[in-house]
């Protein structure tokens, strides 16, 4: 796909609570973009909107030049918009191989074809040794990597990673950074990285969007974000997330 995945003036309200207000953003193909913001800023809600899990109250989602706002999640996945989940959400009773196979089958392959693609994908991500493990028994970081591998099955045009580095050590986060670089380079896939690990975002994203209380308050390249008053202010206002403040300050 040569066109960006776009949110156009998207607003989402949950019974009066405004989770997103008039958010417009482009996720360009074959690039890494970042999305940061304090807890409850609306990042996951935006991912849900972009992947068909949440219909925008107003505004639209455009994929490949076409308005896809009304499409259900499985159809958007078939159009090449993949995602991972903050909570992993692996099929915990299935083997790792089958977790990937489901995507192949969901996108129309036979089980045999899907299994062989899944084997290749596990190899590509470097987790072939997990193939026969039951997904529900995996440690946290492996669970994350399987989630990413599952999303990458069948080479999506875009993949939205919702806090993939949560709970990872610095070393593991470095591996993740390498993996994301390969996703872009080898698969020509556009990545949206949502992370509280700001240093990771600053390191690998070309363009970063900042969300606070449902509004996009700033965007730009890492150099700009690092020095942005608005961003600093948004994070200073929150408690907790010492990590983020630390990374920015």
């Amino acid at each position: 796909m040569t066109q960006p995945l776009q949110a156009k003036q998207v607003s989402v309200s949950f019974d009066g609570l405004r989770a997103l207000s008039d958010v417009t953003l482009d996720i360009p193909p074959a690039r890494v973009s970042g999305l940061i913001g304090p807890n409850g800023a609306g990042k996951t809600t935006l991912v849900n909107v972009l992947t068909g899990f949440q219909s925008p109250t107003t505004g639209s989602v455009v994929c490949d030049g076409r308005d896809v706002s009304g499409l259900s999640a499985h159809k958007l996945r078939r159009l090449g918009v993949a995602r991972t989940f903050q909570g992993g959400r692996l099929f915990k009773d299935l083997s790792v191989l089958d977790n990937l196979e489901v995507t192949g089958v969901g996108l129309g392959l036979t089980r045999r074809e899907a299994a062989s693609r899944a084997v290749d994908m596990l190899d590509w991500v470097g987790i072939s040794h997990l193939m026969t493990d039951i997904a529900g028994s995996l440690p946290y970081t492996d669970e994350r990597r399987v989630g990413i591998a599952r999303a990458l099955m069948m080479a999506p045009s875009f993949v939205l990673l919702d806090e993939p580095a949560a709970g990872m050590s610095a070393h593991e986060a470095d591996d993740l950074a390498d993996l994301i670089a390969r996703i872009v380079k080898d698969m020509k896939c556009g990545v949206l990285l949502i992370e509280h690990n700001i240093s990771l975002v600053l390191k690998i994203c070309e363009h970063i969007h900042v969300l606070d209380s449902g509004e996009l308050i700033d965007e730009g390249d890492p150099a700009h974000i690092k020095t942005s008053e608005k961003v600093l202010h948004a994070y200073m206002g929150t408690q907790g997330d010492v990590d983020m403040q630390g990374a920015i300050l």
Partner: protein, 364 residues
């Protein structure tokens, strides 16, 4: 990308249906060799139940949605075959409202078995178009409503169904071997569905519907496929039952059979095919034992007999006890298997823990 060799799912899992059918065949052979007539009837009834419960499993086990309505498909299959096989002379009197085509039909048992089962499948498909859009408890309640509707129609559409009175004159053809054949066919079909694309996708959606959608799975579609196949299998069980008794009436396919068949599924373990079969065999054995004891056993001079109704109570107690100690049923969702790889093929469910993550709940 290279194509890597990976053992096929069939090769890894085929021992499960082979073991199950082998076990049932053993029961059939022993019954044929040593059993009395009466025992033969008990075993026949058990095989019919295997077909029914395995049919229910095809939907319930793979989708995780409990259905209270599958006895309705049994009803549809049974009456369908009654319409097709009762001699036309009798039908003119008993069921004057039948269309000429049905009124004049007098099909052979096997042809009728296939047509009436498919008919139940078609009805399941039509109902499923609506019901499968619902999820969770709403869909379970809706299946119960469907059962009530089917029962009401068959109880009141006198000219076509004979109303609440029994429809007689159905050729009696179902014996031990034919019912065994039906049970074995149900096991094979349920197994093949389980390892199919649709079966895998549906099981993925069972616990993580959201993640399944994010994998391109259209859960509605997969549920509809499973519901249709399972409706046809339960319809087949109904046909076998009609040709076992020679008589049908709507209340034979209502709450009683719903309760028993769901108990069997739950006791065996509702998320494995082995569980469905084991549950039927076990509960059938208990029922038979209690039935004997209700009639009374001679102890020395007098006879000792249990009060009537003890069957239902005992089944209820067995179910509660098993669920207390093994919430996943006797099999806990695992399959009987020779290769011990069933855990790796996604065809079995190992652990019943709840793993809901604090993600946003998508609204669609």
């Amino acid at each position: 990308m290279s194509t890597t060799k990976h053992p096929s799912v069939l090769a890894q899992t085929v021992s499960t249906p082979v073991i199950l059918i082998g076990g049932l065949a053993l029961i059939a052979v022993l019954t044929w060799a040593f059993g009395s007539n009466i025992f033969g009837r008990t075993v026949t009834e058990m095989f019919i139940r295997v077909a029914l419960v395995v049919g229910m499993f095809t939907f319930i086990g793979n989708s995780g949605v409990i259905s209270f309505g599958h006895a309705g498909f049994m009803c549809i299959g049974a009456y369908g075959s009654a319409w097709l096989t009762i001699p036309p002379m009798m039908k003119k009197v008993l069921l004057p409202g039948l269309s000429p085509m049905l009124a004049n039909a007098e099909l052979t048992f096997f042809l009728s078995l296939i047509i009436a089962s498919l008919f139940a499948g078609v009805i399941a498909f039509a109902v499923g178009l609506i019901l499968m859009r619902l999820s969770g408890i709403a869909s379970s309640i809706a299946t119960f409503a469907m059962l009530a509707v089917i029962n009401t129609i068959y109880s009141n559409w006198g000219p076509v169904t004979g109303g609440t009175s029994s429809v007689v004159g159905i050729p009696i053809t179902t014996g031990v071997w034919i019912s065994f054949g039906g049970a074995a066919a149900a096991v094979v079909i349920a197994y093949l569905y389980g390892i199919s694309r649709s079966g895998l996708a549906l099981r993925a959606g069972r616990d993580e519907a959201v993640a399944a959608a994010a994998s391109g799975v259209d859960i509605y579609r997969e549920r509809l496929i499973a519901f249709t196949i399972s409706g046809a299998l339960c319809g087949m069980a109904g046909v076998l039952y009609a040709h076992f008794l020679g008589v049908v009436n709507p209340d034979a396919f209502y709450l009683g059979v719903t309760f028993i068949s769901l108990s069997m599924l739950v006791v065996g373990g509702m998320s494995s095919l082995s569980g469905a079969v084991i549950g039927v065999v076990l509960i059938s054995a208990i029922i038979e034992l209690l039935r004997k004891m209700e009639k009374g056993i001679t102890v020395g001079e007098g006879t000792l007999s249990l009060p009537n109704g003890i069957q239902e109570i005992a089944i209820g107690v067995v179910m509660i006890v098993i669920l207390m100690f093994r919430p996943g049923g006797l099999t806990g969702g695992a399959e009987l298997s020779l290769t011990r790889t069933s855990a790796n093929d996604g065809y079995s469910k190992k652990d019943q823990g709840s793993g809901n993550h604090p993600d946003n709940k998508p609204r669609r």
